[in-house]
């Protein structure tokens, strides 16, 4: 178990400001936060690159706050891979084992085994510059994994990749985590990552952890305005997607949503509150989704009102105060929820 208490570190413009976190063994833990929140410093301090100004880091009951990075058993993968350009892919992956003075035959065996797990077994003799982004990222992960670290730190591992590669590598990360059981701390500013990967999530802002919980909790009950604004998707529900002729029907249990996506199986959908249209009566339009419900809550928030309509699932809509008055929306009265197929954002679970 990785236990971080009161961790503080100031480094130029970036800072950690009293970070408390507990990551269980074998957990896939995602730290979500915008650029500049201090995510990379958090990882570098955990890895031992920087010595914290205050606070403690505890791994499996051992205080490692002042331990040398090489003795921590913590692996680190940077967003920009940091493969050593003067070594081949195979030498890169075997670098850590060589430091341990492992027998060369044993190194070759381990390197091949780990490279095969990541699907880069055929690239071992290549120089790192000839690899695609996805291949470089796999090599960087293999280089850390081959040492069987107690904790693997991933710094925005998917951000530098194109959409297709990102989606594929995301699934592979999940598979690798399942296969190795390594504890993973993954920092990202993409909230899509948490649905696909996270057992638990911490949301970070200005060097602090502002919320910790399961992905569901963080999205369903954002602890602060910041979390809500950052995640931006309040209407998040999970279900099963079935695709037919390019059109998807997603069964969320209480209701079935129609949209256009190629993603099938277990998914989550998110609909931004400003894309939800409310009306007193059903109306004919191009929008694919209309559900009858009851107004559960109306809350004033400056120029806008947040209206929650219960259609079996509670949908949050943002309306101007004038619209609320014009429609005559009242708590407890019926209302219809309408949104277009294109307003439905689908993520693989």
């Amino acid at each position: 178990m990785l236990r971080i208490a009161g961790l503080a570190k100031r480094l130029g413009d970036f800072a950690l400001d009293g970070v408390d976190l507990t990551v269980d063994d074998g957990e896939y833990f995602v730290v979500l936060g915008p650029t500049g929140a201090g995510k990379t410093i958090l990882l570098e301090t955990l890895a031992g690159i920087y010595s914290p100004d205050a606070g403690t880091i505890d791994l499996d009951g051992l205080d490692i706050t002042r331990t040398d990075p090489k003795d921590r058993g913590i692996g680190m993968v940077y967003q920009d891979y940091m493969l050593f350009p003067h070594l081949t892919v195979g030498e890169n992956i075997g670098f850590g084992l060589k430091q341990r003075k492992t027998d060369p035959a044993r190194i070759r065996e381990s390197v091949q085994e780990t490279a095969a797990l990541l699907g880069i077994g055929h690239l071992l003799d290549r120089t790192t510059g000839t690899l695609s982004g996805g291949e470089q990222q796999r090599a960087a992960i293999a280089r850390a994994l081959v040492l069987r670290p107690r904790v693997l730190l991933l710094d925005e591992p998917l951000s530098a990749l194109d959409t297709v590669t990102r989606e594929r590598l995301r699934r592979e990360l999940k598979a690798i985590h399942r296969a190795t059981g390594t504890t993973v701390v993954h920092v990202t500013h993409h909230f899509e990552d948490i649905f696909a990967l996270a057992d638990r999530v911490a949301v970070m802002q200005d060097g602090r952890i502002v919320q910790t919980g399961t992905p569901d909790e963080v999205f369903r009950k954002p602890a602060t305005e910041f979390v809500a604004a950052f995640t931006g998707m309040e209407n998040v529900y999970c279900g099963v997607s079935r695709v037919q002729n390019g059109e998807a029907t997603i069964d969320l249990g209480e209701i079935v949503v129609r949209t256009v996506t190629a993603i099938e199986g277990d998914v989550c959908v998110g609909i931004r509150p400003e894309e939800v249209i409310l009306s007193r009566r059903p109306f004919e339009s191009s929008a694919a989704n209309t559900f009858p419900g009851t107004v559960a809550e109306i809350r004033q928030n400056g120029m806008f009102s947040r209206v929650v309509v219960d259609t079996g699932l509670p949908f949050v809509a943002v309306l101007t105060r004038q619209s609320v008055a014009r429609l005559g929306l009242v708590e407890g009265e019926p209302a219809n929820v309408t949104f277009k197929a294109s307003a439905v954002h689908v993520f693989r679970r």
Partner: protein
């Protein structure tokens, strides 16, 4: 369609004038340098090149420059790394101090060294230990080291600065000590820069005159490096030997410049 300047049939007056100035100066420099090389008849040049005095100067220059360059490399690596990586109080001042010899006239550096190693307490102490710096070949090495260290520091620092420190961070999480990460990752990555710095430092120390003249003097067949040989023979009117020394210095500078450009990829570091 916008007019495509490169596709215009003739260069614009602007481009023509600037290019003309450039080509005139290139021609001027080539003529001046080539004129020196072809000035003496070839047999006379060869005879001078093989004279005992020039051969002595070549040998002394090679030995002293090799030793002083080696010391420059050993000293510059930790200094350059510190300036590139660490933040410490007075870093800016340290940077400036290491650059002083770049702008200081070598003659002045030579006089300062002469006073430091001569009448000072330190100089007397060294002298008692049998290390005589003044007017000896050892003085040549001391002078070359002092004047050329900043070149090595500059090139090496610029090489370290282009290497992302995260390479070292990763190496340390993979089991390296700080020394190990430096030796196995940073040094190999800085290889080109180190070679470039080594070549330029070596070439500068072969050509060093002012500081050497002040500290080591100009004694024929004792502290006579190539530039000193050039100076001594010019002052005694022995033009053939002076030109021979010049030709060797030109060859060394052209070759080392080519090597330097190759290893820095043409990126200027000064």
């Amino acid at each position: 369609m916008f007019p495509n300047r490169a596709a215009l049939p003739r260069p614009s007056p602007f481009k023509a004038i600037f290019l003309a100035v450039s080509f005139c100066l290139i021609a001027y420099m080539l003529v001046v340098i080539a004129g020196l090389v072809v000035y003496p008849p070839l047999p006379a040049l060869i005879e001078s090149l093989l004279s005992p005095e020039i051969l002595f100067a070549v040998e002394l220059s090679l030995v002293t420059s090799a030793v002083s360059t080696a010391f420059c490399v050993i000293a510059a690596v930790p200094v350059a790394y510190s300036l590139a990586r660490f933040s410490f109080p007075g870093r800016g001042v340290a940077n400036t101090i290491f650059n002083i010899p770049l702008t200081l006239p070598p003659l002045v550096a030579g006089v300062a060294l002469l006073i430091f190693y001569g009448p000072s307490t330190f100089g007397k102490m060294l002298s008692e230990w049998g290390l005589d710096v003044i007017y000896t070949p050892l003085g040549i090495i001391v002078a070359q080291f002092f004047v050329n260290l900043p070149y090595m520091v500059r090139v090496t620092r610029s090489a370290f600065e282009t290497i992302n420190p995260r390479y070292e961070h990763v190496a340390r999480t993979l089991g390296c000590t700080e020394w190990g990460a430096f030796r196995q990752v940073t040094l190999p990555l800085a290889r080109s820069g180190l070679i470039a710095g080594l070549v330029i430092t070596w070439s500068k120390s072969i050509g060093e005159f002012g500081a050497v003249l002040m500290l080591a003097g100009a004694t024929r067949m004792k502290t006579e490096t190539l530039p000193i040989a050039l100076f001594l023979n010019m002052s005694t009117g022995d033009l053939d030997l002076a030109v021979a020394a010049s030709v060797i210095l030109i060859a060394i500078s052209v070759i080392s410049l080519a090597v330097f450009e190759r290893y820095t990829g043409g990126r200027g570091v000064f």
